[in-house]
Symmetry: C2
Subunit: 205 residues, 2 copies
DNA sequence: GAACTTAATAGACATTTTGTTGACTAACGT
DNA sequence: ACGTTAGTCAACAAAATGTCTATTAAGTTC
């Protein structure tokens, strides 16, 4: 669990400054790699003094995290607004649409040699390995209902995400338990568990 | 699909140089944030001239990608070595053990304000939202067979991974289709599809 | 093992970026 | 209206970058 830092109410000037800095960074990141962006450039575009940056953040990375937080808060707003209760499908559709509508930003974020690229690379590495494994064992004439590439990404994403969770939480379970959970969830899905709890699954399609 | 660049056979000196640089970077990353590491420091630790770095890489980021590739190749070796055929469970156990054994490196990689942190942050953001949704609808006395935190991470990882895949592949499906796939895979699992293809699932537990 | 080819070195260079300072002024909250 | 504090401006030393040349040493090829 991430402890949200105790956020004191900010001055209107401070809120404005941080917003300007965030907008400047997210705008710049669509033009060049994150690592190539200088603090000078950010403050220039935000039309703020460079010293002001240091009043709020220590590094570009801190600003990036803050900026993304803003971006995702917007997304959550969208999802909360337009969902049927417990209709996960609808929420996911909104997420995909949101990414599409902000595709320039998101593409930039995960583009080669930018902020999110490493994660993409790792997941892709796992997924390619997984695809290879699957293809070895699927009869060449068999056409699965969901493309193999997508199944691989699903499994790879789950594995990646749980590896990090496990790592950042100081290994609360054994590797065998973790692998068991993944096996169970990927193979059998989670519907069984949820329905056992009396949750009704709504399929929005 | 990532196109592997046409790798020409490297000189023994070049191989050595790149290996030294990779080791230096992965060693440094365990001591300080990636963004704080300078090229000077990397070459110092590798005991190479700074100019040599530029003979191989343009930026720190390029070196990082290359270094991680090495690291993951090792992992794949491990998995290929010690697996029963089609026993996904066994492979995942090896992955978790590998991360544990290299925990200092991996922790560093996903630590605050380092290379992989952004991805972790995004997944965590999605997962917290997902946890919240689940908890709202699970009866307080119900104890699910898999911890809710873990289910959330599973779903969040899948969503994250597929969002990026979809984005980087220029939106080959509609948002509705993508959400449908996720719904299907998360809820019902993938075993059905695989068994339909004649694949025998082995549970290693 | 000799001959060619090229990677790595060393030192130097101008340039850019960084992080921090202190005095000033403009905007904020109560 | 007042006291407080965020943002500005200019300046600064220190550090890091990227590129260059000439030289040395190690590789590859035959």
């Amino acid at each position: 669990m991430i402890s949200t830092p105790p956020k004191k109410k900010l001055d209107r000037r401070q809120r404005r400054t941080r917003l300007m800095l965030s907008e400047a960074l997210l705008s710049l990141i669509q033009e060049k790699a994150f690592s190539e962006i200088t603090i000078q450039e950010i403050t220039d575009r935000a039309d703020l003094n460079r010293a002001t940056f240091y009043l709020h953040y220590g590094t570009k990375e801190e600003l990036l995290v803050d900026s993304l937080e803003r971006q995702f808060d917007l997304l959550v707003q969208e999802i909360r607004g337009s969902r049927d209760f417990m209709n996960f499908w609808e929420g996911d559709v909104v997420a995909f649409r949101h990414v599409y509508e902000n595709k320039t930003l998101f593409k930039a974020l995960f583009n080669d040699i930018s902020a999110g690229y490493i994660a993409f690379r790792i997941i892709d590495y796992i997924a390619e390995f997984s695809t290879e494994e699957l293809l070895e064992h699927i009869p060449p004439n068999y056409q699965p209902p969901i493309p193999v590439e997508i199944i691989s990404r699903h499994v790879a994403g789950s594995l990646f995400s749980l590896l990090i969770w496990w790592l950042r939480n100081d290994f609360p379970k054994t590797p065998e338990e973790m692998a068991g959970y993944i096996q169970e969830m990927c193979m059998m899905g989670t519907a069984g568990m949820l329905m056992e709890a009396g949750i009704e699954i709504i399929n929005g399609q």
